[in-house]
Subunit: 435 residues, 2 copies
């Protein structure tokens, strides 16, 4: 084969792949979040990566977004999932008579969007979702549970977040009040980009949607209100007499009460939180890394998850963490600098003549749950020590014929270069305290 | 939306999806295996599900197997991975100058084969691979480590396996000796199905490949040899004088020695283990559930993993567990019958008027790492108790106004219906001993 033409090994553009050291860190990040989900009694779900196009594109009436990976095989027209919410809706609709409600599930999985690759955007990336789905009704307690869960995920990672919360009904109520319900999605799009465009441009765009200056200014003022929920509720009390608006305030008040019961601490109100998806109908929230205002996830309440698949009303509330993006931010930010991505606690450096005995020691270490490795390849002592250094091994155990004879071993701490002469049992004891 | 036509919710044919209870069991199966990989110092790798077709189809010179999911998007021609080995080869070839060798990686991920769905076969299923890749050379210790690792995975699951081991060079050496090297793949295909066809048919097929009856019978006899490696080596000592054959025996002898050092116990020799893939060049092994002779994985040594991508010689040895199939077998076999797929240790049954206090108790439980749930939906006491039963909750805590007043709670054990009156601190103490 050596004379044949080689294919250049490369991965698809825009696809994410980590080197082992980073992968260890990323896996432990996912594990921490999964542990929080489990501790809060969410059950795992693992839907296929592929679904019938008819299912995944139900929302758009079968119209294909150019971002979506769609293809046919045999007579099946299928797509790769672009989020974990539509597969959840499909699953819940299929099994609505078998599942227990509220159904609390989490899913950590890859999703696919063939958009133009750019910094921080990938075509394959992980989503980390937890949702609570009700049958017919779902208490506002569930909204609080999702937001508290979101906070707990970051607590578990030792990361400070701020969660900004709103209720869609507040802005929607005001829009209803000024008789612009027919333009609500267009208005929300303008409000969602207030931070990026000038006040003047915003007013112009709202005017084009038929809203006069006075109401536009009022709407923008509303959108910019934020702070402690209690205070905000007082300030908004007489802002608008619309019933939807009032319901929004009432829901926010109830949410606040439950959030406190759930022990949540890092949340504030911000009426400007819109969230892109127009399926949100009540609570919406967005999480930011504290001091950076970088969005790393969010979620909200949707009144009818499975509307495309069943007549049964199934309200839900969910949270999602963009873990791929989060990981990249944390990596840049030095979050992992102090974490050693250590996969080896002790490395045995054997010589040719002590290979078998070294493997036996290796086996005993591993039986004790100690992450031990033996550099058994036929290489020089020097290159084995170099390897131990490169791999950031904590301890090295040199096993020559003398050590086998005397059963006294030299344990070298690679971090401070200290050496100790110990029996095997003493070494085991020392290393078990490491873990 | 209620009046619109509904789309029937369904998943793609041949795609595997578990209900939450089974998913909890499957996830814990994967976790156990992953823990073994980690303890043995294998590092995680997570390659994209999609690869350039040129890469995935390198082996077949770009020819598309009809099982493979292949499609184009923009100007990229891509496939969904059908195993985890080719992506590993691509990754190692790409990063050969950065990685430490031997490179020990594991990957647990979904792979795709669009074959006709049938019992025990899925179009999307999990593979669980661990491989050791060398640079230029790789010691026979690595082969032993992989087989020992395979055994440890099943030990960790409490499942008895038998691992049947051979070395390809033994049969290959004999074929070389009778000058049939040019037909080796065809001969291996016949030998691989000896258990399924009659001796007569096998002899006929071998005759068609130009092997006379005497040599065919000798070859079949060789293929049927099995038992303890020590004994087999003695029996085969004078079977054939070919050098490749002798190398095969020598490697098997060396492997045996290292396997013992690694503490492996459940292995025997079986020269009839062929393994389908013709990239295996030395050690081959296959694992079976004891008493059932159902194959649940295996692996072997390949001399040149990255040959399509680089001139550098990179030998490897790997193991793979067919976890999707294994799970189905275990499920049928009642392996999980005694395992409770419990996601809730204690359920709080609140009343409307004690909702907030119940949520506070719930939060305290969870802060202690106890899997607690509160059935906070506005339902009857009876339906909440029914739910607790259905969910196989271990304890139920009824929180009414009296309990809040006295701070003495009734803890009901749902398994034996015993009730105790306890303070909250006593309950926490009791439940922490559960975990």
């Amino acid at each position: 084969m050596n004379n044949s033409t080689k294919i250049v090994p490369r991965k698809l553009k825009g696809f994410w792949e980590l080197m082992p050291k980073e992968q260890i860190l990323f896996s432990s990040l996912l594990n921490s979040i999964e542990q929080v989900f489990k501790n809060n009694c969410f059950v795992p779900l693992d839907t296929p990566v592929l679904e019938y196009s008819e299912i995944l594109l139900a929302k758009s009436g079968g119209e294909v977004d150019k971002e979506i990976y769609r293809f046919t095989k045999g007579d099946a027209d299928m797509c790769m999932r672009y989020d974990l919410t539509v597969p959840l809706a499909r699953f819940v609709a299929m099994h609505k008579d078998e599942l227990s409600f509220p159904f609390k599930r989490y899913q950590i999985g890859k999703v696919y969007r063939g958009e133009r690759p750019q910094k921080g955007r990938f075509r394959e990336f992980y989503q980390c979702d937890a949702d609570i789905i009700g049958s017919d009704t779902l208490s506002m307690v569930a909204d609080a549970e999702c937001i508290a869960l979101f906070e707990k995920c970051f607590n578990a990672l030792g990361i400070e977040v701020v969660i900004e919360i709103s209720n869609r009904k507040i802005i929607a109520g005001f829009i209803e009040e000024i008789n612009k319900n027919d333009k609500i999605n267009e208005i929300l799009i303008v409000l969602d980009k207030l931070e990026k465009i000038s006040l003047e441009d915003a007013l112009t765009e709202l005017k084009e949607l038929g809203i006069d200056n006075e109401n536009s200014e009022k709407l923008i003022k509303l959108t910019k209100m934020n702070g402690k929920i209690d205070n905000l509720l007082v300030n908004l009390k007489d802002f608008c007499q619309n019933e939807t608006f009032k319901t929004g305030l009432k829901e926010l008040e109830e949410l606040n009460k439950y959030l406190i019961s759930f022990g949540a601490k890092s949340f504030v109100a911000n009426i400007g939180v819109i969230r892109g998806h127009n399926y949100y109908t009540g609570t919406v929230f967005e999480g930011f890394l504290k001091n950076q205002h970088l969005a790393i996830g969010g979620g909200g309440r949707f009144e009818n998850l499975c509307g495309y698949f069943t007549d049964k009303n199934m309200p839900g509330v969910g949270m999602s963490i963009g873990v791929t993006r989060l990981f990249d931010l944390l990596l840049q930010d030095g979050y992992f600098d102090k974490v050693k991505a250590r996969d080896i606690d002790i490395a045995i450096i054997n010589f040719d003549e002590t290979l078998n005995q070294s493997l036996e020691l290796l086996t005993k270490f591993r039986e004790q749950g100690i992450k031990a490795e033996c550099f058994y390849e036929n290489k020089s002592f020097k290159s084995k020590m170099k390897e131990a250094n490169k791999r950031e091994v904590k301890y090295v155990l040199i096993v020559g014929e003398d050590e086998i004879k005397t059963q006294i071993f030299t344990l070298k701490n690679m971090e401070n270069s200290e050496q100790e002469k110990l029996s095997f049992e003493e070494i085991i004891k020392k290393l078990k305290n490491l873990a």
